[in-house]
Symmetry: none
Subunit: 217 residues, 2 copies
DNA sequence: CACTTGACAGCACAAGTGTTTGCTTGCTAT
DNA sequence: ATAGCAAGCAAACACTTGTGCTGTCAAGTG
């Protein structure tokens, strides 16, 4: 029996063990560590499978050197890889106003990891996350349970997707923003939905959407 | 002569050497590595200074274990803050078949960073990413330019969002999967769209969607 | 001066560890 | 059946590597 990436069950286990061992201890396991913890009968079996893993490019090895097993990606990233995290300030539900980002204790808030592709470090300032509850944003291709990343800003350019607060209605929605002469058009992304027209003094922009994360486990 | 942090020159050198060694090789140096490269006359001198460094909290050591020297700061980040990356195998366009994930050289593919929230390490195996081109998936709340994360699998449960290949039509779409008796229903997420009905032997599942990333800079 | 202490040398021992060799098994193709 | 082969087993072997003495030497210290 093999797994999808061509590794035997045992090799899969060994690989996982190596990761976890290093994660836990900070240095690499010896062959006998693997042997005993994985209850493998002989060191040669471990050596055999390590060679297989090496041939498949899953691990690097320094011949003869004790604890010289390394994972291709663990070397550099351990030192270089910064963690991009933004605070998850809360949940946005249909109609309810957002918490004022300024007033929330950012340091206490839950954090969300953000892939650098979505928000690089220098663009990360004033970015926060909100979990979307309900289907009220579905017309903007944002589903229940999605996490939206917002950059705090009070102005927007035409076409930006923004979190806009309608003062009069005391409600917040995610819409595309268009300034058209004296009025403002808030346009859903779905063409079957009708836009909202209002005046600029009835709109307070709370942030611009810069990313969406969806998990579908 | 001591340096500002209370270390002797030799200790400073050793500490620096340890850092550099790990950065270069990916595993920790043995006492004799330090000895020879730093041209120290005896292993006991190294041991002596390592103990001093340990007492000063500059390094961690695992008694008796080969290459068990660890730097306090390198240990944790490597595991707590791993960089989850999956290969970006290509672009999925309306109707065109996906590249066979098995056949693409994974190691050569571009990588996409994934937030751990979306895919934890053990669930990361066999996950790959595809960039969506065109609006053909808009009914599944997936926009042009989005990146979808797929876990390679050939079966699916009812309600899973899958990348399904229609053999006869030689086309691939993202739909929700429903097995209904003898037929299979591929249901768009948008209720205004019609589902596709077909037989199970006309469908080959290429993967299940486990996440969506959208960037809106 | 005798005594202590930090720093260093040299050396040998005993674990810690990777490798090798020979021997089974179980399965597949000829 | 028979040969071939991947995978596993067990024990022995040999190199690696941490540790533990035993000294040496210079700088303090009373």
């Amino acid at each position: 029996m093999r797994t999808a990436d061509g590794l035997s069950v045992r090799q899969e286990k060994i690989l996982h063990y190596i990761e976890e061992f290093f994660g836990k201890k900070g240095y690499w396991p010896a062959i006998r560590d693997i042997q005993t913890d994985l209850k493998i009968s002989s060191t040669s079996v471990v050596a055999y499978n390590l060679k297989a893993l090496q041939d498949k490019g899953k691990i690097n090895r320094q011949g003869k050197v004790s604890r010289g097993i390394t994972l291709p990606n663990t070397l550099t990233p351990a030192l270089i890889n910064p963690s991009y995290q933004v605070p998850l300030l809360g949940t946005i539900t249909a109609g309810q106003p957002l918490p004022d980002p300024e007033q929330v204790d950012v340091s206490a808030a839950e954090k969300v990891d953000v892939p650098p592709d979505l928000a690089t470090a220098d663009k990360l300032k004033d970015v926060y996350a909100l979990k979307v509850r309900g289907l009220s944003m579905i017309d903007a291709l944002i589903d229940d349970g999605d996490i939206v990343l917002l950059r705090r800003q009070e102005t927007a350019n035409n076409g930006d997707m923004v979190a806009a607060m309608l003062v009069e209605e005391n409600a917040v929605t995610l819409k595309k923003f268009y300034h058209e002469g004296l009025r403002i058009r808030l346009q859903p992304a779905n063409s079957t939905m009708q836009p909202i027209f209002t005046t600029s003094d009835n709109v307070r922009i709370q942030g611009r959407v810069v990313g969406v994360l969806r998990s579908l486990f």
